[in-house]
Amino acid sequence: MNSSSAPSTPASAISRVQVGEQLPPFTRRTDFDNWNRYAAVNDEFLPHCMNDEAARSEGFPKAFGMGNLQWSYVHSLLRAFIGPDGAILRVDLQFRNPNLRSQVLTANGTVTAIAGDVLSVELWTQEDKGSRLALGTAVVRI
């Protein structure tokens, strides 16, 4: 199951952004297919991201994805929302639970404050059962 976020938010819709608004989510089913492609571009070939056995030796039930890819996913979420003329000003993300193989991961955001054209957003990623994997915040300009 995959869906990119909605097409870029047009300016007319941006003016209607409200506190509490949910950003269109960004979803990817995650496994070696995505992690190894990401490893390729980021030169991030970590044993626990490539091999169940290596992950188990570190106390995890199976291989898990790199936090940097979730970082990229939340950026994709924000970019789609703010449009090509927007700017991501700040992102803060903490990785709390591993993104295990075969999970469907969704990046989400909720607008928490609006100051002129600057929005504050609560961010998180969650797996298909709803457990939150990464938590954070962002500040963007639309």
Binding site: S4, W71, H75, S76, L93, Q94, F95
Partner: protein, 165 residues
Amino acid sequence: MTETYLNDTVINAKGTPCSRSVSYPIEASAIRKWAIAVYWPEPAPEVFMYAEYAPEDFDPFAWGPASYESLLPGDDSGVVYRHGINERALGFPEWKFRAGLNGGMNCTYGVRMHVGDVITDVKSVGEYTERQGRNGLMLITQSISTWTNQRNELVKRTINTGICY
């Protein structure tokens, strides 16, 4: 059992500049492949396929910098510490961990990266702390990366957190 990871050397290292890396000029194909990988299996936005600018999360230091210089006195190891800092050259204890995990990032952005830009990354030591967790005593590391482009404009400043146990 480890009582503490933190000694005066570790605590007082906060703020120490460790390294300066300079990237190769950013190439359109690198931007395109990055975008394909992070949007896979959906198509990436056209703006990245034609590399008008790079995604904010793009790393021009992947697959190695064009040059690397340690800023630590006496560090002539020649080892490139891409994701961190040379703890040995800082005089930190030689810890042995079962695992080292990415704890999170905190990033403030400046200008966008474009094709042809050359990025300089200066890494420095952040604040090291520790806490008890389900895997015992965990060392929480921080490194700070400050990126500027060839016009000395701020591209981004990132605080990277690591968790070791």
